[in-house]
Symmetry: C2
Subunit: 409 residues, 2 copies
Amino acid sequence: MAVDIRAPRAEDLLAVPGIELGFAEAGIRRNGRRDLMLMRCAPGTAAAGVFTRNAFAAAPVQVCRRHLSGARGIRALVVNAGNANCGTGAAGLAAALRTCERAAGLLGCAPEEVLPFSTGVILEPLPVDRIENALPGCVAALGPDRWLGAAEAIMTTDTVAKGVSRRATIGGATVTVTGIAKGVGMIEPDMATMLAFIATDANVSPECLNAMVKSVADRSFNRVTVDGDTSTNDSFILLATGRAAHAEIRQPGSAACRELEACVLEVARALAQAIARDGEGATKFITVQVEGARDEPEAVAVARSIANSPLVKTAFFASDPNLGRLIMAIGNAGIADLDVANVDLYIGDLAVISRGGRAASYSEEQGAAAMKPADIAVRVLLGRGTAATTVWTCDFSYEYVKINAEYRT
Amino acid sequence: MAVDIRAPRAEDLLAVPGIELGFAEAGIRRNGRRDLMLMRCAPGTAAAGVFTRNAFAAAPVQVCRRHLSGARGIRALVVNAGNANCGTGAAGLAAALRTCERAAGLLGCAPEEVLPFSTGVILEPLPVDRIENALPGCVAALGPDRWLGAAEAIMTTDTVAKGVSRRATIGGATVTVTGIAKGVGMIEPDMATMLAFIATDANVSPECLNAMVKSVADRSFNRVTVDGDTSTNDSFILLATGRAAHAEIRQPGSAACRELEACVLEVARALAQAIARDGEGATKFITVQVEGARDEPEAVAVARSIANSPLVKTAFFASDPNLGRLIMAIGNAGIADLDVANVDLYIGDLAVISRGGRAASYSEEQGAAAMKPADIAVRVLLGRGTAATTVWTCDFSYEYVKINAEYRT
């Protein structure tokens, strides 16, 4: 039994009118692999992003924030793997800006219209000359049907490329949403970062897109956890080229906006789940649903306390229906006035905890059977209100320790 | 190279006038081991305690809180290993109370003068009849020099017994402080709990003792972490029999009170460190000091973010001087306005991070050498203020996963 984690086929990832992708071997950390990716966006593309809240935000994250807050649109994304350009001070910022300048020179746009991204080793100088030398190769390779290769070029310790496409009909027009992502934990010895890029040809105002990126992130990438550690480079970018034949979506709450958001959310959730499924050393994919919370932060606190507990995660690895650990994790979520006598818990359809104690119908054999599948749903009912959330995670195996204990070189 | 963790010798644990200890085989979970411990306190003993903040606080914790808040003193502690009596509802509360009644009957005191403690499997009924049957054996075995046997009787998956004694001179009189503890993580498959009992013959008012137990806990047991998980049964009790020949300590800030507190703190810290050293699967003992914080909660947040990060802990296991992970953990501590350009970090005496980046003098070889010892100090300087704290933890090895992934039976 293994977690279902497969790379998409090239034909599964649909071209997005207005978006072209190219990649090249820059030799940033290792030779013989494509480690530089360029995404070109048609003029008029709107972009919005959310970034890591880690105080050691990497240089490219700082540049992205600045360029996204400017008046100009976005014409290109440049992503390198192998070096995170983090903790690198003024030289790191200069390197990120030089990447933008070089890409801008090649594409005929302003440096402020380029967003840079880096993932890899922290605290080492970015070999920006190698990026500059490899960028012309990326430009020469640009094409609309190269999403899979782009997803591969941004991988670090991911075991498979991650990409998803969906279509929606908006105002009578067919709209495509395609996204790629990378990330499998705070990641290998010193390979950091979750990166996700989703593009659509929908026609959306920047304000609307900005609201959408935050709302989608909160229900997808911000609800996945491998080890509770947050990278210094985490970035999620949503691009809208405006090429689809429908009227511009301007109103955040409008029907067209909701339809597009649902489609983007579907892509984002599939990518987020792919990250948990490919979690370092994962043998199981676990969905933690919390219901009956007084408000959403409370539901998230309980879900995260379960999903991040090393003791709960090793129990899933062992297929051990260890009720005590689930009780412990719920009790540790920091809800001061939690009445445990109202708490129920299910693994799949099996009632495990009822009114704060072991369910009368529960047997150890049923529990062991419910913990066996590679895909497991835990459902907690707090009995305090109507708020709910879902968090995705994976189990905690020998392999996680092995991957993370191996020396970097 | 292994963590220095040794059991105390029987003669290292000094008798405390007014305290007697006895233990017996109750067969609560397994036969052939002493799993029940009784501590008898002389009349007039003052007691104070701090307990788990987990919402699923076990039945004995609820009873302890009630009995400690009563007007009477404390005459006995009863501790069983093998069953946590947690998540057991009204029947669990009744079982804890029956334990107190039985001990009270044997010792000739009121049930409210007895404190019950349990550690072991969560969510299973406490076999209170076995405790009742074994209690007379504990009483028959009572003696003042049996601290080591008492420490052994409360162990679950601890590999060694934990006990420490210190002496202080207060008001011209010699005062003894002896403590025992158990706990090595949230602990094995379903063996939960850190328990610590410290007794002194000092003469202290209950008010003074109450203030002391909280202050000491915050600088000892609340500063140790193995996996970030908090048990449902955690308890720390401080007892003062008042037999020493000095005037009663009544004033919380007085010189005599400070002297006694320093001695109790020394015992509590040694016990807390013994817990981290004996952490499940630990191969290294790690001291995380954070200085230059704006306030203590901020210092604690940074220290805990480092001490609880699975990525940092596996790097210590691998002796890998992985700078990126330390950066990541500091940045994740939730200090919104942290200026990373002021952050320095040392491993032992080696400057590793200087002003937010890699120290100019640092070399990978020095880093690898600094990560090798079984006893490692990490010092972080935040450069924001004068508050500081210290947290103790251990590394994260294959063995942790193995211990926690093995099926409970």
